[in-house]
């Protein structure tokens, strides 16, 4: 009888942060256990204590170099509450929204074209030296050029609204510190038609890939789950900046709806497991075993009632059409969902650019000081919660963050196990292509392990293979 084995993939590549996958094979070569481990810890929630409230929206961006705007805005929304502001001046809210749509657009474009495209174009098991962005660019240079220019457009929106492309200062407690000049607005408007055309092409590309690989998409780490996101207050439309919480179970039935997000602790619990620095949230009423849920672009497509921009709404309808009345549970559908959201962002950016409120001068509101504040936003990777308490000296005394990748922790681990069982069980030899299938499943979530563990840096992934006695049989470090 053969010895049981353990496979370890470390670091995972084309994701952000550091992660490790371990796979235990039993004596018959069947997958016994597969886990995604988060191996870094920084303790940002401790680090932020003692900081002054007005600093927080700027400092929290240190969590992340790739979607700092999400942290900037979630923290600013929390600080709005602390300074007693429940409603921003229209110019402030619209400038923040413009910033956020630019952020989501550029983040999704980078992930789809530069991080996921090598797998989608060349196949999950293609030789490793082909699965990179440079090979994509050699074969599809126009695609690569568009991706860079779309991302550049989103980055420039961020710069115009936040002051800088990375770690800007635009959102302040109670408002915004700038408006948009007509000259800058006209510069964006001159390019918006092109952006919309390219976004439509990107949706078509993702749709065609999904439909032409239907068997793969429907079986690759596709399993039912609950989903949660913000939805717009009242009508339940997609709203990436603000709204109330909605959670649906795998059949589409409501778990909770239009819940004020300041009550998130009433419905969510963060569980801890000894082998990972990343927590495991679940829905309190359902319990730790089955109360896990997923967030992100595909989750949003499932939870919202509709999208309030016509082109993206039509694209969402098509995305969900194959699933009848049910939800879409195929994680590879996230790529299509991201492109639908890019199109939505472009439509919303156009709408905002035509709004004269962006040139308004009433930038900040004031109110009666409060002790605590909670800000929630739909970041590119999913729901993001910032929760602070501040003392009478304006210093932070408490901070709790639940980032998108943490919400998705259980889903990520189940995806790893699902693919490991299908790819590795009973195989006499473990190939690099097989292991990449596991990374593809992780990448579909576009996880930011840096944010999830509140650690700085890149996130290469490591995979290790162990025997039943705990001996390391094989390891792969994919940091390049």
């Amino acid at each position: 009888m053969a010895e049981p084995r353990l496979i370890e993939i470390s670091p995972v590549t084309r994701v952000e942060g550091h992660g490790k996958v371990t796979i235990h094979l039993d004596a018959e070569g069947q997958v016994d256990e597969a886990r995604l481990h988060i191996v870094e810890f920084r303790g940002f929630e401790r680090f932020i204590r003692g900081r002054l409230l007005w600093e927080v929206p700027v400092i929290v961006q240190r969590l992340c170099g790739i979607c700092p705007v999400s942290h900037h805005l979630a923290a600013a929304k929390a600080m709005d509450q602390i300074v007693g502001v429940d409603e921003l001046p229209p110019t402030a809210e619209k400038m923040r929204r413009l910033m956020h749509y630019g952020q989501v657009m550029q983040s999704h474009v980078l992930h789809f074209f530069h991080l996921a495209a090598p797998d989608l174009l060349f196949g999950f098991g293609a030789p490793a030296d082909r699965r990179n962005i440079f090979e994509v660019l050699r074969q599809e240079p126009e695609l690569g050029r568009r991706a860079i220019l779309m991302r550049k457009f989103g980055q420039e929106i961020i710069e115009a609204t936040a002051g800088k492309k990375v770690h800007g200062t635009g959102a302040i407690p109670g408002g915004i510190n700038r408006n948009l000049s007509l000259e800058t607005r006209d510069g964006f408007l001159a390019r918006i038609d092109e952006m919309q055309d390219w976004a439509l092409d990107a949706v078509a590309l993702a749709r065609d890939y999904t439909m032409s690989h239907a068997t793969l998409v429907d079986s690759f780490a596709a399993f039912p789950s609950s989903y949660m996101s913000l939805v717009r207050g009242g009508d339940g439309a997609l709203d990436l900046y603000h709204g109330n919480l909605r959670a649906l179970d795998a059949s589409g039935s409501t778990i909770f709806d239009q819940l004020d997000y300041t009550r998130y602790m009433d419905v969510l619990v963060e569980d801890v497991r000894p082998w990972s620095y990343m927590k495991f949230p679940y829905i309190r009423d359902i319990g730790a075993q089955t109360g896990w849920y997923r967030v992100g672009p595909l989750a949003r497509m499932n939870t919202v009632g509709f999208i309030d921009t016509p082109l993206a709404n039509a694209a969402r309808t098509e995305l969900l059409a194959g699933d009848g009345e049910g939800l879409n549970h195929a994680i590879l559908g996230n790529h299509w969902a991201r492109m639908v959201e890019v199109l939505h962002c472009v439509e919303k950016i156009r709408e905002l650019l035509h709004d004269p409120d962006l040139q308004g001068t009433d930038l900040k509101a004031t109110g009666e000081r409060r002790q605590s504040g909670i800000g929630v936003i739909e970041a590119p990777r999913g729901n993001l919660i910032h929760h602070y308490e501040v003392d009478e000296n304006d210093q932070v005394t408490y901070c709790n963050l639940i980032v998108s990748t943490t919400h998705n922790n259980e889903g990520l681990n189940r995806a790893v196990r699902d693919v490991a069982v299908k790819q590795l069980s009973g195989q006499a030899q473990i190939t690099e292509g097989m292991l990449n299938h596991i990374e593809v499943a992780i990448r579909a979530y576009d996880p930011c392990l840096s944010c999830a563990t509140h650690a700085l840096g890149q996130m290469p992934l490591q995979v290790e293979l162990y025997d039943a006695g705990g001996g390391l049989l094989d390891a792969r470090n994919t940091s390049g």
């Binding site: 920084r42 980078l110 050029r145 990375v166």
Partner: protein, 144 residues
């Protein structure tokens, strides 16, 4: 000519690249465009493609010299494993996407304090920054 200074000023001496960029920008040298960022990304391919010469200024770890200045060429070997790129990869993108092949160099400025989450350069790093700034300003003038 384009100078890109990059690194994280929130991690001590990792901010050396951005610190040099700030000094060169403040000097308003004719014909010199300056960019500062946290990391190199695909976004830098278009400005790199538009330049005839590019200097990538970054913090350098574990060197006995105050700074090092070496040519760099386009290459793919720095795979896009995350969201950040190496200088050779940015040059490769500029060549592949825009057909541009600017001459390029990496200016690595030696730092000593990278571990803590804090802003500000160490005394050693500040001294090395002074020497690197002096060198690159002469180099810009002499090679214009």
């Amino acid at each position: 000519m384009l100078l890109i200074g990059y690194g994280n000023p929130g991690r001590g001496d990792d901010g050396l690249g951005q610190a040099l960029a700030a000094r060169i920008e403040a000097a308003c040298l004719p014909g010199v465009q300056v960019l500062a960022d946290y990391q190199l990304t695909v976004d830098h391919a278009p400005p790199v493609a538009a330049a005839d010469r590019v200097v990538f200024a970054d913090a350098l770890m574990k060197s006995d010299a105050p700074f090092e200045f070496d040519p760099v060429t386009a290459r793919d070997t720095g795979d896009l494993t995350s969201h950040s790129l190496r200088p050779g990869a940015v040059l490769s993108l500029a060549e592949t996407l825009f057909g541009a092949t600017p001459r390029a160099w990496v200016l690595g400025i030696t730092g000593t304090g990278f571990g803590e989450v804090k802003e500000g350069l160490s005394p050693d790093a500040l001294g090395n920054l002074d020497r690197a700034e002096g060198f690159i300003r002469k180099w810009i003038v002499n090679t214009a």
